[in-house]
Symmetry: D3
Subunit: 250 residues, 6 copies
């Protein structure tokens, strides 16, 4: 069932959902990025050359599962705080989070990207389990998450800035889905290609993704060749001469 | 000319302006808060009792002009980063800031409240001068400002988290005016009453502003009485006995 | 041998030990919390509903051993800096740390909770090994620890804010055992039930622990049921309808 | 009336007051330090030579009134958080702050030194006014203060790490008066001589204060002579030769 | 006496002084920048257009004297920590700071720029007084300074990241004068033109300073014209139309 | 081939290489430190007693590979930012990093120590692979690294303060090799013995390394004996009596 035909959860007003389905990447694009392996660095280099901002480091956005690399289109969520006191809202069960609507709309392979609230969980274990079941690749979250043992157990990787047991249920409102968001100084639009690994996260504008992939693939090949050259044992002063002419990991 | 009749600046798409005019406070409300003097602390106490979050400290939101206290309804602005490299946008003059639309819509006494971008100026000197001319009370900004000597010279007070010469012109886009915003963990809606002084900033929901004013006025009177009592020279162990029964500054 | 009958180590003046033995949890309480699995989130939710502060996130208090969940009564320690220069105290061997007195007093299952000093180790490897031998469940420390390879090797889990080789021996004095302490904004009293896992740490007041356990157990059951429901494959818009009526992980 | 004869306020249990009156500095000591002018730097230099830690910078502990220098014996206060939710305590008026007991015990010239709570006010305007009336020299506070316009208006200078309208009344408990405290890594005991100016704060152990004063006085004289020498216009390469032999401001 | 003919102070090895005299700005350059008034913002805008990094904000580099604007060529200093314990060096008077050599070499109008050490003073009062006497315009310092009352009293403005009484004498070594340094992510070379005011600090490469001045002067004129237009009272929607065509403060 | 005979890479001017080969540790020194196991804590204790600063914590300098302990002489590198905009340098391929020269000069067992730039990668995967091939023990880096999956895969451990995909190629210049550097407040000279493990990093001056090793070895033996004593099950009050007389892990 396509997102446009899906019933909504009702957790967020329909007018706040800016797109029912994020732009789909063209055939082969996701596979192309995946074929690069841990691609955040080589993609970051291409973004540099094209004058596009779009990179977040893994010491800020920490992966919950080491050694994972995910690639997929961004489905964006924006959370802000509620006004009422959490003690009041907790007793009255005023739950305004709606990242489940994001899971509802997600197509297999999507990456949930949440411009969330600091110090408060923007995604919990059942939410992660639901995302996994929907076939999502994982999530990138500015703010805290919780139930990390749960999300690890279902193999749903998350890159988040914080971890805390404090729930967002009574503290957060999801105010927009699939709008443009600001992730720690990087602008992300729905459908942007997300590449995340142990070194960090890149967001590639969908309009330039094919161009980025081509350049990144060339760079990755040159780097592999250089790795082989190094394994041959040539002296470093020869390696660097070689480097002057080509792209390289640094 | 009422905001709804004003031509727009065209700096931001009309669909992104959620209200042309913020809710006006009832007669006497602004004057009532102003009569309290530096009211952020007494208002903060009332918000505590009502279970409403809404307070930011002056060591985070630093006033550009010491000794000033402002009161007025919030006109909200939300800024996020642009995607393109500032070097590129600077040469191509891609200016997407639209806080001038806020000045355009502002009525005398309004307070501009900007959920802005860190490390980058969200308001400069000509903008402050324009706000002053429009009769605004001042501005509260999450993020940097610039031209502080200019805004001081026209007597337009700003509470901001940072100061930097780096322009937002080529780095920022204003994406919403008069929507709900998140100021460092406090939700602010257009029309909320802003009270700002040397100690910090309070945001009072318009729906509860009259109730807050009444309680704050009572508290302020009790505090003045206590100050007089202290001036009489009674021993501290008597002062605190007095305190047990009444609200007090602490 | 009960703590009250134990000889003291003499590392701290007896007048500074506020209780020789922390209040013991009633029968079944610890087991009840343990049966919940990784319980920090569900316990945090119950604390929200009861209006009790008591939660610290795992991105601030980082566990030294992933995947561990501990439950037990808090035995509290308060450390402050010494006045003399560490260079002087190191040469004169002025050692005023007394967390070994805490190990001395600890009963099996206790959790050592230290309001410690930043940038300096408040617990080392031999101390951890001793705690393990005493049957302690682990430790929660505001400040640094050291010898993490050692404490891991003896399987003694610690949640601490920092790691550094710099010893506290010549820099720290333990000034109180089993008093009330302030852990990053959460007050902890001796005997409070500590629950710590990969997501964070909760401190439950002993007087309300049974009440918290009952509510947490109900919540955990509802969550497990919801997890099963999700595994059945029902659409998300059905899941969230279900959620509206019940507690859930978020 | 000497502190030992004073009735207590009852805001804190008498057993938590470790000394009713802080050790009084010997005749001429306070005056001697005051005669040095802005003495924090020269005193810091003497502490370096004696191997005593005791210095905090003014960019962390910011003075509320520029250009002020205070000297006096420390009267110490330790605050920690309350356990219950502020919303609950605010409605029930559970006020456990007791810095008024400190004012009650203070003798003219004392400096209130509070190991307080971050993000929350540990001293307000009426409290500052009371301290002023008691003849205190001012206050040094780890944590926030509020009503800064008020404390400035009564000319009561405070060095504090934060400013916020958020009251401590319903959030803080004063748990000890005149015990040893830890101020951002510096240990302070009641009676220690506090010297505070625009550059920072020094705490001199009372037992060594006379020794420190003598050395600081010598240094200050040498510095004044050097300042005169510089005013004569001798070349810098001569100034530094002079410096090699003597103490100097740097 | 030109710097090249001056005797050295001997505080730093001559081999560590990379230039005896920094490149002098061409005739009229300094005056041209000064004529712009508070120029950090307009210069920052020109640097943006030329693709040059070079701007630091005043909330990080805080001016010690408000309302001052300085312009002059940079004389650079690099400080790093000593290895030995300060207690040891203080007693043995191992003083390795050499910013006095910078004062010795300085020509009237120079700005001392120090890549210094955090938490420790890199410049004190006698040093500031000496700099003033030498005719320096002021100093920009990454790290702490001390004796701020002293430097204010002689009217020597400093932009520094921290203030502390802790001396650098026994803790710091000056390891280079007039080399290239890194100021919080901005590279500064000796002779670069420094412009500092209440909003921040700009460093303009000497090779491009004339070009920057020309462009900044044009921008400043356009801004003044716009300020006049605003004072005429034209509606904001007209102001912004005007802005679209010209540079403006933002 | 000894470093002095090696061709240089040409990535950095020869005048900026202060030593072609770092001082070699005397026979048995490296092996002696390695025999201590995870030695950062015991070495830190000896440095305390000798009045030498030289310790960094693992929560600041995080190891990329847990459970590793390395020992070797420091080969130092200093990086600062480039002046030009990265967008410009990326397109023009202005690569000024020269840590490959460090690999070129490195002898087996050396540890690369980089005083690098924050927020930007100072070492990538091919660089790490090259270091591994050269027989280096690993690297300690103030600033970010990238390609962490790559460096892990070739078993080259790095202790770094940050991780990010953002390349230093177009942003950084290596300005010195084998000079004295400042690592977060610790001075490091080429040839200093680096000891790094899960708890942190120590830098031992080569001139005192033998002395440090002897003292550390004695301490380590006493600690092992104490661990055995604890395993015998003697009461804690006996353990601490034992501790009073001897060095111990704390």
């Amino acid at each position: 069932m396509a997102p446009k035909d899906k019933p909504l959860t009702g957790k967020i007003d329909a007018s706040r959902i800016k797109m029912m389905e994020v732009p789909r990447p063209e055939q082969g694009l996701i596979e192309g990025f995946k074929a690069l392996g841990d691609a955040s660095c080589v993609v970051s280099d291409v973004l540099d050359e094209l004058g596009i901002t779009g990179v977040l480091g893994a010491s800020l956005y920490r992966p919950t599962i080491a050694g994972r690399c995910i690639v997929g289109p961004a489905l964006t969520v924006r959370n802000i705080v509620q006004r009422e006191h959490p003690y009041e809202t907790a007793r009255n069960k005023v739950n305004k989070m709606a990242e489940f609507e994001a899971h509802n709309l997600a197509l297999p392979g999507d990456v949930i990207v949440i411009d969330g609230v600091v110090g408060i969980s923007n995604m919990g274990g059942i939410s992660a389990q639901t995302g996994k079941r929907q076939g999502e690749a994982g999530a990138i979250i500015s703010g805290a998450i919780r139930d990390v043992a749960h999300s690890r157990s279902v193999d749903y990787p998350v890159w988040a800035t914080e971890i805390t047991p404090v729930t967002g249920k009574w503290r957060i409102q999801t105010v927009e889905i699939n709008g443009d968001i600001d992730m720690s100084g990087v602008r992300v639009s729905p459908g942007d290609i997300v590449i995340a690994d142990d070194t960090g996260v890149c967001f590639v504008p969908i309009s330039r993704a094919a161009e980025v992939l081509r350049a990144a693939t060339r760079k990755a090949q040159l780097e592999q060749e250089k790795c082989k050259v190094i394994d041959t044992g040539i002296p470093v002063y020869e390696v660097t001469r070689f480097q002057t002419d080509t792209a390289h990991k640094q």
